[in-house]
């Protein structure tokens, strides 16, 4: 009624326009302040200068209410004035921000006794990354991100270090109070992305990171690693239609390639044609692809035939890797409608994203996100809220990782320097089969992989819920909610028949149906009696999950180019998987406050988890935290110390295990000659598992100075996780390869600092800076009895381990043998070092993490950037290792010219390279000249009888200095036993986000229906300012989003993304 009246009244009094400006204490205009007419719905917002104009029915009697977040609202009687200047005062009490905490309960931040940090979501809709999780990089103290390098892959998030050996170490994602599935999508060498990446930043109101188990104690088992709370946008009251549109385009291009040599071509031992096996008898010409390495002769245009039999020159092909890559464009379009009145609200939003990868035809994404939030308040007794996030995602051709034979990514390692893209294309012969690309090395022609093989998956994800809040009395409410997180999907992988590696081809398809349900009831009580306040919550929760997957596959195709399970020449195989769980919980919290400066918080939760045995399936865990608001207690002048809080917390969190982890049973093995056979699980399960327990304590201080212009938060924590449930490799003579073990302890301790401030604030110009810094120290206190090392993962002879007494993540591998005194010992007959196994090479954990962000505003322009810093941590580059072994890198040129001269031109013999004459073992007169590469070191000391002398430790003793020229190919191929050459410090400084925005002035928009418009130029990962890894190797890359970090193996070449973003609302 009121609204109608207002609308009708509007034209009649349109001439009564009041103009004015809203200013802060320093006289600077406050943009976006709300100016509303009392007792009406008329409301306007100030523009970038704080200016506004509002129509009122009557200038003499009109009363305006001016409000701005963080400032005390003012009520102003217009009294007939036409131009107003309103100075707002900062509201110290409004610094008591209200934040969303566990279970979706909103609380004043001053009452919280644990560390939390807010993430700016607005930036995420501007400098976009297709994966929302990637955008957390550099935004939160103590939060580490590791990406797969690919736009559609999984991202690993770790807060405060690694707590679990093989279990989940990532924080729990909670959307509107309900946990969602964020499991990694890694399946073999394909990565289907993390569960949380489905969230759309356009639909998110806020993100809160609760860093330790202290904060998340109430989520229990799943939140031992902290939690990320996401609150979706709700309908808001506003002028005009409440429609906003966001259009974003981001282009990507690779920024770095490995440094390839372009001097020597395909071949072995410095020879263009090593032996007759390389000659095509029909053409009488060296035919390419007979060897898989670039250890041949100088590229001088010798005759060289392509696979298809075309003879051309043996010449360098400097761009043969680069040509596989292109620039791409990812577009994101969003439209949202938001409306609210006093009792109801609604918001609808639709987003369409289409994108692809810098590698041709890979990772092509089409994603539709729908969001719907609606609420109705039947005052005063009942409020009902519903929400729904639906995402439909279609991804074509996810790139295989980890040097999978089907991955076109392999080119960056293996592409022979003398092969041109035109030789690789066409990639198939008249029968549709691949030309043999290489006879060894185990990978396909990249153009074959790109054009003939394919995979596709379609996902339908539904996250939604209904919440009803019942007001029983003034102080007592009951909230009940039911929510679900469902994922339905199908997909296939197709490997074409006739490949150089996969001759038969293969096909597999899957259907997935995951359903997770949460039903919760919560009784909420809050009461304030004089100086005392109490709030208590008591609830129960039932969480059930059913994850079901079926798969059908054929290991040999009947015909080419037919993507179907019917295309099979063998009986297709089928398999089925079903994981189920039920967790029932009862929990309670109570907060006691005294005089607004002392708060004590107690929580307790008991879980009954179906994944544990009867004797252990019920477990209880408590937490206690407190905060003392120093600024309230001591009444310090607000202009200096605006707010100060000391907080402390201690918590224990239990963690159950995954389903089906108690009893080993037999698996279907297959059908052999008409008989089904079975095989026992190779994992020994434990029917007596106990829950894991993480105990964590933290102390912190939150300070705000100078009316909030400078804030400083610091936290110190330590945590210990015991009764680790992990899968340990066991001696296989037990009949099992792995066993579920319930032992061991891991400790973490660390510090986190966040500083933010406004360095300059004038009318037209402001400069905000914020910085995060964190350090975490991890220690593996114990593993299972008798075991001092646990292998988390690895590659070839290199492993990533948990070593007792050391931080988790020691990287070990074969390395050159060193005498007790440190000298490298060289073999006398080959000139290569002896080697030891499992030598410590490094550790993947960083020393510290930091980030600096800054925002400059000048009039309508703003510039924001974010720099992420990681210090320390090591990475093993398998890509660099393999590219050196293949002789493709500039590094591998070392000694080649010398060898060529010695071996080919002078024809020096093996003895001469070793420094002795061909006959009689006399010193070779020209021993000084380099004839290849020398390993630095010493021959073993021999005794009089010619036997190797060993010291007290049983180690060889250095004798004469080695002076042995090794063939360069032999030198680099010895990497497998000399692994320290490929471990790199993974420190970096990266400019990971830049936003340069221009907000259109209100005066331009005043005659249009548009309220706000902003155009931004944005960029991500634009510049790696500092790093130590070789070109083309991203220090952040990882071959897995699991716990075995520190290995680089064919993720993606580094690329930068830049584009523009346009936002408009009307």
């Amino acid at each position: 009624m009121l609204m109608m009246a207002c609308c009708m009244a509007f034209p009649a009094y349109a001439q009564n326009i009041i103009k004015g400006r809203v200013l802060d204490e320093t006289g600077k205009g406050l943009p976006g302040a709300s100016v509303s007419l009392k007792e009406s719905t008329t409301r306007v917002a100030t523009d970038g200068d704080g200016a506004f104009s509002i129509s009122v029915p009557n200038t003499s009697s009109a009363v305006l209410i001016v409000a701005y977040i963080g400032y005390k609202p003012q009520t102003i009687s217009v009294d007939g004035k036409q131009n107003l200047t309103i100075n707002l005062l900062q509201d110290a009490s409004s610094l008591n921000e209200v934040v969303v905490t566990a279970l979706g309960i909103s609380r004043e931040s001053k009452s919280l006794g644990y560390a939390r940090q807010k993430v700016d979501v607005g930036e995420m809709t501007e400098a976009r990354d297709p994966n929302i999780i990637n955008m957390l990089s550099g935004k939160v103290a103590g939060l580490q991100i590791t990406t797969s390098g690919q736009p559609t892959g999984s991202t690993r998030v770790v807060l405060r270090g690694v707590n679990s050996l093989t279990g989940n170490n990532e924080p729990l994602w909670v959307v509107d109070g309900i946990p969602i599935d964020n499991s990694s999508g890694q399946r073999g060498n394909l990565d289907y992305g993390s569960g949380a990446s489905v969230l759309n930043p356009d639909d998110i109101e806020s993100m809160e990171v609760l860093k330790g188990p202290n904060a998340a104690a109430l989520y229990g088992s799943m939140a031992a690693n902290g939690a990320i709370l996401v609150t979706t946008k709700k309908g808001k009251a506003g002028k005009n239609f409440g429609i906003s549109v966001n259009s974003n385009f981001m282009a990507s291009a690779i920024t770095e390639l490995p440094a390839y040599q372009n001097v020597y071509g395909e071949g072995n031992a410095g020879r263009y044609v090593q032996d007759l096996n390389n000659i095509d008898p029909a053409l009488g010409v060296y035919i390419m692809g007979k060897t898989d390495r670039s250890w041949g002769a100088p590229l001088l245009g010798q005759p060289y035939a392509s696979y298809a039999g075309v003879v051309r020159g043996y010449v360098p092909q400097p761009d043969n890797v680069k040509d596989l890559y292109h620039s791409t464009l990812t577009g994101t379009q969003n439209i949202a409608l938001s409306k609210a009145d006093e009792t109801s609200s609604i918001r609808m939003s639709y987003t369409f994203t289409d994108g692809n990868d810098v590698l041709q035809k890979q990772n092509i994404v089409n994603k539709h996100n729908f969001a719907l939030n609606a609420s109705k308040n039947f005052k005063p007794y009942l409020k009902v809220e519903t929400r729904l996030q639906y995402a439909n995602e279609d991804v074509q051709n996810r790139t295989y990782r980890n040097m999978d034979s089907n991955s076109p990514m392999n080119a960056y390692i293996f592409m022979i320097r003398s092969v041109s893209p035109s030789d690789l294309s066409p990639w198939e012969d008249a029968n549709g089969n691949s030309f043999a690309y290489t006879n060894r090395g185990g990978y396909e022609n990249p153009y074959w992989s790109i054009n003939e093989n394919s995979n596709n998956d379609r996902k339908n994800r539904l996250i939604g819920g209904v919440t009803a809040t019942l007001g029983i009395t003034k102080d007592l409410k009951f909230r009940s909610q039911i929510a679900s997180d469902m994922n339905f999907g199908t997909g296939y992988t197709f490997t074409e028949k006739g490949g150089a590696i996969s001759k038969t081809g293969s096909y597999s398809e899957f259907t997935q149906n995951n359903q997770n349900w949460n039903t919760e009831g919560l009784l909420m009580y809050a009461k304030k009696i004089s100086k005392f306040s109490v709030s208590a919550n008591l609830g129960g929760n039932i969480r059930t999950g059913k994850n079901y997957r079926t798969e059908a596959r054929s290991t040999a195709l009947a015909v080419h180019d037919m993507i179907s399970i019917s295309n099979t020449s063998v009986t297709p195989l089928a398999s089925e998987q079903l994981d189920r769980y039920i967790v029932n919980s009862v929990f309670g919290t109570a907060t006691f406050g005294y005089n607004d400066y002392l708060f004590v918080d107690v929580t307790g939760r008991n879980d009954w988890s179906s994944t544990l045995p009867r004797s252990n399936w019920s477990f209880f865990y408590p937490s206690v935290s407190g905060s003392l608001v120093l600024s309230e207690l001591f009444k310090v002048p607000k202009e200096i110390l605006t707010f100060g809080k000391f907080r402390a917390s201690i918590a224990k969190v239990g963690n159950a295990t995954s389903p089906n982890n108690l009893n080993s049973a037999f698996n279907y093995g297959g059908n052999f000659l008409g008989n089904s056979w079975v095989a026992m699980d190779t994992k020994l399960k434990d029917p007596n598992l106990k829950p894991e327990e993480t105990t964590s304590a933290e102390l912190g201080i939150d300070l705000k100075f100078f009316n909030g212009r400078l804030t400083f938060d610091a936290t110190a924590y330590r945590s210990s996780s015991v009764n680790q449930i992990f899968e340990a490799a066991v001696p296989v003579e037990t009949g099992y390869t792995r066993a579920v073990v319930n032992a061991g302890e891991i400790q973490n301790r660390g510090l986190e600092f966040t500083v933010s401030g406004t360095a300059v604030s004038t009318k037209d110009f402001s400069w905000d800076v914020n910085a995060n810094w964190s350090v975490n120290r991890n220690k593996v206190v114990s593993l299972s009895p008798g075991i001092n090392r646990f292998q988390l993962g690895g590659w070839f002879q290199m492993s990533v381990n948990a070593d007792v007494g050391k931080p988790i993540g020691s990287i070990r591998g074969n390395d050159q043998y060193r005498a007790s005194t440190g000298e490298v010992i060289i073999k006398t007959d080959s000139g290569q070092p002896y080697y030891d196994q499992n030598v410590y090479l490094g550790n993947f954990l960083p020393d510290w993490l930091g980030s600096i962000g800054s925002t400059f505003k000048y009039k309508n322009f703003d510039l924001n950037f974010n720099i992420a810093i990681k210090k320390g941590g090591d990475i093993y580059s398998v890509g660099n290792h393999k590219a050196n072994v293949a002789g493709n890198t500039v590094a591998s040129l070392m000694g080649r010219d010398e060898y060529l001269f010695s071996n080919i031109i002078l024809g020096e013999s093996g003895n001469e390279m070793k420094g002795t004459t061909q006959l009689n073992n006399l010193p070779y007169p020209d021993a000084e000249r380099l004839k290849g590469v020398k390993f630095e070191g010493f021959y073993p000391l021999l005794d009089a009888s010619g036997k190797v002398v060993l010291d007290a430790n049983g180690r060889m003793v250095p004798g004469q200095r080695a002076d042995f020229n090794v063939q360069p190919q032999g030198y680099w191929q010895y990497m497998d036993f000399n692994m320290h050459d490929n471990i790199f410090d993974a420190s970096y400084v990266k400019l990971n986000q830049v936003i340069f925005g221009y907000t259109l002035p209100n005066k331009w928009l005043s005659k249009t229906p548009f309220q706000n418009a902003k155009l931004s130029l944005v960029g991500r990962n634009l510049w790696t300012i500092y790093k130590n890894t070789p070109n083309g190797i991203d220090p952040e890359s990882a071959n897995s989003s699991g716990n075995a970090q520190g290995i680089e193996m064919g993720g993606s070449l580094p690329y930068a993304t830049y584009g523009f973003d346009f936002k408009i609302s009307f």
Binding site: D275, L538, V586, W677, A679, P731, I787
Partner: protein, 577 residues
């Protein structure tokens, strides 16, 4: 307030407590079997065992046995990998253990438990022959942090005892047998004969280190030969099939999948030289002739029946053996041109196509081997109804018959060096380092023929035989791939190194096992059953190129070439000096 909270929590707790009634059901994996049929387990075990044996053959033992030359990778005298240990202990012995655990107390399964026992002994006899000390008495224990290894002697003694017990324990009547039985199709008598024949094989192998137990077993078996396999119908083999999941690993690796030319197994030049020396028809039976277009054109000097000239001609030969490594040691100072210079991979003979068929059965043990073993037993005076020579001749004849060349057997058996009490003059190896002479000694004859009989599936046993007897005078591998050996030149490994994972996951057991050898885990440690190796310094060996082993293929004259219809290129013609 507190009271209310307390009451509420008790009520809620009670409610949830009762909700746990579906928990156990929920945590059951509906796609797994808790108590499968014994047959389903045994079929899996048998397949896993033989799959692994075929894998080891193409990766390792085919090179060790000198049947094939395989370039690259582990075949270049690698000394084992983690896979074998895991496959044998987990998929084979682990599942046998599960089978026994579930059925040993069920009297209706008594025979099947004995069969499982026989199979377990077979698997252990394989492992002990590869590594020496292995976890045996403490294997399959899951509740101890340390698993000790047993000494070779203990294991051999125990295996002989267990096999006897199992063979004797089989009750040949009644329905208690595996159905299906992928090895003997339910024939319990064949199982019994296999168990005894296996016992004979093990006893002969451990004659050096367990002489008493071995001799006793051999004597017992030779007293009643009906305990052993009595004909090819008793052969132990596992069949493969043509469909997906049924194919032989040889086929999957060498035919179905892509393999580099160099990694494909090719006729080994030492076996080839032996075949050439004694005009062995098995050259054509075991190996495919090289397609004419790919045959190696070799230089030869032939006389003529028409005049007194010699002609240097080039003509193609249908078979050729490949060296394990063509690398020539610089210290040999070889001059002239290698007889096989300029050869390419496709010039060498490949295994008979039938060996690579997807459904080729794997021979676990055959009757010919039993005859060879009886020949040896008799030769050593451990009993036997026939003479050693009779057993020997029967063995060779059975082998020839198996390969479809029965008609050539008697000619072959009359060749010097093959014939009892004769000695044979073989060709030199192409670098002259060794030759394929066969001495007068008849035991060496038995061993040499037994070695050839093991082709292709018995490569592991061929390796055991060679280590026990050192009867073949083998050339070295001149480009060994094992970087842990302080040498690029090596003889065949004497054992495999323990897998890497043992050092990490069972360090105490591992170190105690190493101590049993005298402190190192190298492939050059001789096992107890083996004859101690006297190492040659190959650098000081006398080497010379000798092409005789491939020359005069069709006869000594130019006319014999023409008679065979072989085209040739005349390179030179000169009067006999």
């Amino acid at each position: 307030m507190k009271k209310i909270l307390y009451i509420l929590s008790v009520i809620l707790a009670g409610t949830f407590q009762s909700c746990t009634k579906n928990f156990e059901e929920t945590n059951k994996n509906p796609n797994q079997f808790n108590s499968p049929d014994a047959e389903a387990i045994f079929t899996g075990v048998a397949k896993a065992t033989v799959d692994q044996m075929e894998r080891n053959n193409y990766l390792f033992f085919w090179t060790y046995s000198n049947f094939f030359a395989i370039d690259g990778g582990t075949a270049r005298y690698g000394s084992g990998d983690d896979t074998n240990w895991q496959q044998m202990y987990v998929n084979v012995l682990g599942n046998i253990n599960q089978l026994k655990k579930r059925y040993k107390d069920n009297p209706q399964y008594a025979n099947r438990i004995q069969i499982a026992e026989i199979w377990e002994c077979y698997a252990y006899s394989y492992l002990v022959g590869i590594y020496g000390p292995i976890p045996y008495s403490q294997a399959m224990m899951t509740n101890t942090p340390i698993i000790e290894f047993d000494d070779e002697n203990t294991i051999y003694a125990s295996l002989l005892e267990r096999l006897k017990k199992a063979a004797d324990g089989l009750k040949l009547t009644g329905a208690d047998t595996f159905t299906p039985d992928v090895v003997f199709n339910g024939d319990l008598l064949k199982w019994k004969k296999f168990a005894n024949s296996l016992r004979l094989r093990i006893a002969l192998r451990c004659l050096r280190n367990q002489p008493e137990a071995a001799e006793a077993a051999i004597r017992e078996l030779m007293t009643d030969e009906t305990l052993l396999m009595q004909g090819v119908a008793d052969n132990a083999k596992l069949s493969y099939g043509t469909g997906e999941g049924n194919e032989a690993p040889y086929f999957i690796r060498l035919v179905k999948n892509t393999i580099a030319d160099g990694d494909f197994p090719k006729l080994n030049d030492y076996l080839f030289t032996n075949f050439r020396s004694y005009k062995d028809p098995r050259l054509g039976a075991y190996f495919e002739p090289v397609p004419v277009a790919d045959q190696y054109a070799m230089l030869d000097t032939l006389a003529s029946t028409a005049d007194d000239t010699l002609r240097i001609v080039s003509y193609k030969i249908p078979h050729l053996g490949s060296p394990k490594s063509p690398a020539i040691l610089p210290a040999w100072g070889l001059i002239g041109q290698s007889p096989i210079s300029g050869t390419v991979f496709k010039n060498f003979s490949k295994p008979k196509a039938s060996i690579l068929a997807s459904n080729k059965p794997f021979s676990i043990m055959d009757y010919a081997e039993v005859c060879f073993m009886k020949a040896e037993a008799k030769y050593l005076n451990y009993g036997g109804a026939k003479t050693a020579e009779e057993y020997y001749k029967e063995a060779v004849t059975v082998n020839f018959t198996t390969w479809g060349i029965a008609a050539s057997a008697s000619d072959y058996l009359n060749t010097n060096g093959i014939k009892w009490d004769t000695q044979g003059k073989g060709f030199n190896y192409y670098t002259g380092l060794v030759n394929t002479d066969i001495p007068l000694d008849n035991l060496t004859k038995i061993w040499t023929q037994r070695w050839i009989n093991y082709y292709p599936d018995g490569a592991f046993d061929a390796w055991c035989l060679q280590r026990r007897t050192l009867s073949l005078d083998l050339p070295p591998l001149t480009n060994a791939g094992n970087p842990n050996l302080n040498s690029t030149i090596t003889d065949i490994p004497d054992r495999w190194e323990f897998p890497n994972v043992e050092r990490t996951y069972n360090p105490t057991g591992y170190n105690n096992a190493i101590a049993k050898f005298g402190a190192n885990d190298l492939p050059t440690v001789s096992l107890k059953f083996a004859k101690p190796v006297v190492r040659r310094d190959w650098n000081t060996a006398r080497a010379f190129y000798d092409p005789k082993y491939i020359q005069k293929w069709y006869g000594p004259t130019i006319q014999s070439l023409a008679a065979a219809g072989i085209p040739y290129v005349l390179v030179n013609k000169f009067v006999r000096p």
